[in-house]
């Protein structure tokens, strides 16, 4: 019965995600679809962080920067499309676009490109120093966006409309939910295949003993950087979805507390289990939502809860749910 318990947990989770909009409809609380979409989007961001954190051992404390960059890519394109002005500093005259098929890949490209630069510089350090230098770069981007009055500065940008997809109306919350779900599952499949491949083996090897890999002639840093770029691109996609979901883009998305939140989701769910990242996102967001409904002072319960998870569920919530095989993706 290898993985029996894990398979049950995963099947139940997927089934729940598939029928969730119908359940929300039946319970007459369509608001829940919006909450669940948020869970999917943050699940995507947490998944991308878990790729580099759980498998590459890279604790990035600036992951929200890539989410924010993806969101701004969508916001800026939509902004210029809406008022017909040209995008400054871009070769050629481009008035932006409202097409998801243009906006979203571009968001991934921007996330990946910045990850390439930030990763290349940050990977010169390791351990706690790596944590702090990724944080530093994210804070620089945050302050840069705060100081750009063209794109709202501190106040951010409101989107006039969600991105346009052929055949699918993203303004319909249920349709948007399913688009987010499909993208999350797609990312899950891609990342799973990636970490099962020789590339993934090198990445895991680098986490366990980088010196040994290097002495075997494997350029470990190049592998880690590649993973960092892929994670940046997926986080950029999460940002594109987030911009569409809230119909707003602001520097707050890139603040270090957001990076902390995504990190907490991964740890809470269980580091090194991709499903765990999604479970962690769901747990944190639903706890926030649920406790906030009960009491104004909900954080007084959430805080000790996190401490208890650390002390008593050592492999995270997903590890606790799925048992011993949780990490064998």
């Amino acid at each position: 019965m290898t993985g029996g318990r894990k398979r049950i947990v995963n099947t139940a989770g997927l089934a729940l995600l598939l029928v969730l909009p119908a359940l929300a409809q039946a319970a007459d609380s369509p608001f829940f679809v919006s909450v669940a979409t948020r869970v999917l989007i943050y699940g995507l961001a947490a998944l991308s962080l878990d790729l580099i954190l759980g498998y590459g051992g890279m604790v990035s404390f600036g992951h929200a920067a890539f989410v924010g960059l993806g969101a701004y890519a969508v916001g800026i394109l939509a902004h210029h499309h809406a008022d017909g002005s040209l995008i400054p500093f871009l070769p050629g005259a481009w008035e932006g676009s409202a097409q998801a098929l243009i906006q979203w890949p571009l968001a991934m490209l921007v996330g990946g490109l910045f990850a390439l630069v930030i990763g290349a510089l940050s990977l010169r350090t390791s351990g706690v120093y790596f944590i702090m230098i990724t944080l530093a770069f994210a804070q620089m981007l945050y302050h840069f966006m705060v100081s750009l009055p063209t794109y709202g500065g501190q106040d951010g940008l409101s989107l006039w409309q969600r991105s346009e997809l052929p055949l699918i109306d993203l303004n319909d919350d249920v349709a948007f939910y399913y688009v987010a779900l499909v993208l999350l599952l797609l990312a899950l499949v891609v990342v799973r295949r990636l970490i099962a491949s020789p590339f993934g083996m090198v990445l895991r090897g680098a986490r366990q003993n980088e010196a040994r890999l290097v002495s075997l002639g494997v350029p470990a840093t190049r592998y880690k950087l590649t993973a960092f770029v892929i994670a940046g691109a997926i986080a950029g996609l999460a940002g594109a979805l987030l911009a569409n979901h809230t119909e707003f883009v602001g520097p707050g998305m890139m603040h270090w507390t957001r990076s902390g939140e995504i990190l907490i989701m991964v740890i809470l769910g269980g580091v090194g289990t991709l499903y765990g990242a999604i479970v962690g996102a769901a747990t944190l967001l639903l706890l926030e939502e649920g406790l906030a409904g009960l009491t104004e002072h909900w954080m007084i319960f959430l805080g000790p809860f996190l401490v208890f998870v650390v002390l008593f569920a050592r492999r995270g919530i997903y590890g606790w749910l799925a048992g011993r095989e949780a990490g064998d993706d």
């Binding site: 944080l135 100081s147 954080m299 650390v310």
Partner: protein, 307 residues
């Protein structure tokens, strides 16, 4: 005029650096010796500020306020260490991040419940509310000079503690050879609680001293926490000397940036744009500093004991 401004800003930078040092010293000790990432260090700063503000108001004496803050921060610190953190020393850094994040949430909410959401304000003690002429014709707030003095005194005291006392010897030994020190019959658990409480009291002192200069409010700990981390990363984790150097460097760069960058920008740009761009560059100046230091010396400016 320019020389006067420069001198004032230098003192402001020193004062900010000294405050950061009080926080960074405790954080770097806990970090370097126990290998614990304590995100909740800023919480102890907040506790110090709230208790100082309340005790000062109740007693009418700033001295009593500061002493109460020291006691409260030390007590809260020791309690956190014994209940939540003690089991995490040998665990992954990530577990420590999650647990101490939980501690932050708990105390932020507790403070909000006990003191309400409004910020408190505290005025400096009467004896220090005036200005001093450091150089004839240049007045400077006495309270800020007082902070610089306190910070330097604490720095010297800490150096004496670490270099010249038995506790300091155990701290240094515990940093590198924890099991050996334990085998020699030293109660490591108690030693760590003491170190944590010392760090907590330093943070509480910083909070109490900051009270008269800024609003005492929930979340004040997180704002300064990131700066403090930047300081100990620049200085080199675990090194108190590095914490001092890093703190003064960050304090000066931050203050000079805020004061002079917008002015320098005005030479080239129109005032509104200059102010906005200058402000944004100055707010990232310390991060640029940290990134530059780490790219140049990936383990900070000073090596820790034995590290």
């Amino acid at each position: 005029m320019t020389a006067q401004l420069f001198l004032e800003q230098t003192l402001n930078g020193l004062q900010q650096g000294v405050m950061l040092f009080l926080l960074a010293a405790g954080l770097t000790l806990v970090f370097g010796i126990m290998h614990l990432i304590n995100l909740a260090h800023g919480t102890l700063y907040m506790v110090g500020a709230y208790v100082a503000a309340t005790a000062t108001k109740a007693s009418g004496s700033f001295t009593i306020g500061v002493l109460a803050a020291l006691a409260a921060a030390g007590l809260v610190g020791a309690t956190i260490e014994m209940t939540a953190l003690r089991k995490l020393y040998k665990r992954d850094h990530l577990d420590q991040v999650l647990a101490t994040f939980g501690v932050i949430l708990f105390f932020n909410e507790l403070v909000k419940i006990m003191w309400g959401p409004q910020a408190l304000f505290l005025s400096p003690p009467a004896a220090l509310s005036g200005t001093v002429e450091i150089i004839p014709g240049i007045p400077y707030p006495a309270y800020r000079l007082f902070i610089i003095g306190v910070g330097l005194a604490v720095g010297l005291g800490l150096r004496y503690l670490i270099v010249n006392t038995r506790t300091g010897m155990l701290i240094r030994a515990g940093a590198t050879h924890r099991d050996m020190v334990g085998a020699l019959g030293v109660d490591i658990d108690r030693l760590f609680t003491v170190v944590f409480a010392i760090g907590a009291m330093l943070a509480g002192l910083a909070g109490a001293l900051a009270g008269p200069m800024l609003a005492v409010e929930v979340g004040m700990g997180e704002q300064i926490l990131i700066l403090t981390f930047v300081v100990i990363i620049i200085g080199g984790i675990g090194s108190v000397r590095g914490a001092l150097a890093g703190a003064l460097l960050v304090g000066l760069v931050d203050t000079y940036g805020r004061a002079f960058l917008p002015l320098a920008m005005r030479a080239a740009l129109d005032p509104a744009a200059a102010d906005s761009i200058g402000a944004s560059i100055s707010s990232v100046a310390i991060y640029l500093l940290m990134a530059a230091v780490l790219i140049w010396r990936p383990r900070g400016l000073f090596q820790a004991y034995g590290g």
